[in-house]
């Protein structure tokens, strides 16, 4: 403790591998020490693209949830939304780390999160829509968490890559809590005042055109998720309208105008200081 500067003093005597004060070191790799082998017969490029897309969904969702900080109707909801965002950010990190291992570039999570432009993202577009009011954000959370949970439960038992299967098995447990939280709120809002019901009905109408792209051609997944959503909307006295889907597909790189500004904010510090560690 020879230095007066508190940060420098704290940093003293810790080599890089300790990571306690110097983040950005090896211990920060969420897949630190995990066996990286890609099983034979698994297409690495496809696996990497899939991990990246699932990571993009979670990163963009987490960023939207973070925007509720200091703006949620009650402290408890703010804590809940932040916690859900943190879980999703954790899933993002694991998925990006896996993508970097298998796509042959060896890129770390930051390269994917901070140094790709909106056109390079492959998240579903529902995740990037602006937060709107609390009813919209909570209803979107219900749709996205129900879908992601169903998908992760399936990946946990069927993914050919054991790392992806493990990430999904872990994430599914978290997503079950997210879905439960959102479902209870949608019922409360739908079954609440005229105003809360109107807002939740508007939210469902705004979300409906973006639901189709969650399933692509996967009819089984669609049936499973829509059944859960119907369970909630029935209890809430509401209906998810059947409407024509918006053209294009987020997984193919089609974006709304809302992703670029979101990423600009998310990426500003990392791009201003590209080699910084913290």
């Amino acid at each position: 403790m020879s230095d007066d500067h508190v940060y420098l003093s704290l940093a003293e005597g810790h080599d890089d591998s300790d990571a306690r004060w110097a983040f950005g070191t090896g211990f920060e790799d969420p897949l630190h020490g995990v066996d990286q082998t890609v099983p034979e017969g698994t297409d690495s490029a496809q696996l990497a693209a899939f991990c990246l897309a699932l990571g993009d969904d979670a990163l963009v969702s987490a960023q939207r949830l973070a925007q509720w900080c200091t703006a949620a109707p009650e402290l408890e909801e703010e804590v809940a939304l932040a916690n859900i965002g943190l879980d999703l950010l954790g899933q993002t990190r694991l998925l990006y780390a896996r993508a970097g291992q298998v796509d042959g570039t060896g890129r770390g999570e930051d390269a994917y999160a901070y140094f790709r432009d909106a056109d390079d993202f492959r998240n579903v577009r529902l995740a990037e829509l602006p937060n709107g009011d609390f009813a919209f954000s909570i209803t979107r959370l219900l749709v996205l968490s129900s879908w992601r949970l169903a998908l992760f439960e399936r990946l946990a038992t069927t993914a050919s890559d054991p790392v992806l299967a493990a990430i999904a098995a872990k994430g599914a447990k978290e997503l079950a809590y997210h879905r439960q939280y959102a479902a209870e709120w949608v019922v409360r809002l739908g079954d609440g005042t005229e105003e809360s019901q109107r807002r939740t009905r508007d939210a469902l109408a705004a979300i409906a055109p973006y639901v189709d792209e969650l399933f692509a051609d996967d009819g089984e997944l669609r049936t499973e998720v829509l059944a859960v959503l119907r369970q909630v909307t029935d209890a809430a006295g509401l209906v998810l309208p059947e409407v024509a889907p918006v053209p294009g597909h987020g997984r193919d790189g089609d974006r709304t105008e809302h992703l670029a500004p979101l990423l600009a904010e998310l990426q500003s510090v990392a791009r201003a200081h590209p080699e910084a560690t913290w």
């Binding site: 306690r20 211990f27 954790g90 054991p162 493990a166 872990k170």
Partner: protein, 170 residues
């Protein structure tokens, strides 16, 4: 003889790693929490400690890895390797009886049995009872699904009026 020494050493390495406290719930050791999955010594003397994260976004993971490695090195193990184990995923069922006692004694209600298999959505109010860790009353209610860390919910006791945290089953 060599085997016996290795086994004495690996037991000692386990004890050292096991005693590292959880950064967010320091009344629990990593062994109590069930995140320390194993400590082995390889043929070349490398100590390999396996850790599993509680939640995907647990910010304490880096700190845990660093602390386990640092304590093992301080104890004279020159080569230390930390491995992350993702499978099977961590469950609150792995919190030891000792860990549950320590949680209660610090005013945090320990988790019940974790659900297994695909999780069904239930919209009827769940009548889960979480006894108050302070007065033992079963007359308690949830105030928030989420609390200061991902792993806990907020509850309050209607009898002694105290709020308390509750480690959620996962």
């Amino acid at each position: 003889m060599v085997t016996a020494l290795v086994s004495v050493d690996s037991r000692r390495a386990w004890r050292i790693a096991a005693q590292v406290p959880d950064p967010e719930m320091p009344m629990l050791t990593l062994a109590d929490l069930g995140v320390l999955r194993g400590v082995e010594i390889g043929a070349d003397g490398t100590v390999v400690a396996s850790l599993t994260p509680t939640y995907s976004g647990c910010p304490a993971m880096a700190e845990m890895r660093a602390e386990v490695a640092a304590r093992l090195r301080d104890a004279g193990f020159a080569k230390v390797e930390i491995r992350t184990v993702l499978d099977p995923p961590w469950s609150t069922d792995w919190i030891t009886p000792e860990g549950r006692r320590n949680l209660s004694e610090h005013g945090i209600a320990p988790p019940g049995a974790a659900p297994s298999g695909p999780i069904k959505l239930t919209l009827s109010p769940t009548r889960r009872t979480v006894p108050c860790p302070r007065c033992g009353s079963a007359d308690t209610e949830e105030t928030s699904h989420f609390a200061a860390t991902s792993c806990k919910a907020l509850w309050r006791c209607r009898v002694c009026r105290e709020p308390f945290e509750y480690v959620k089953e996962i």
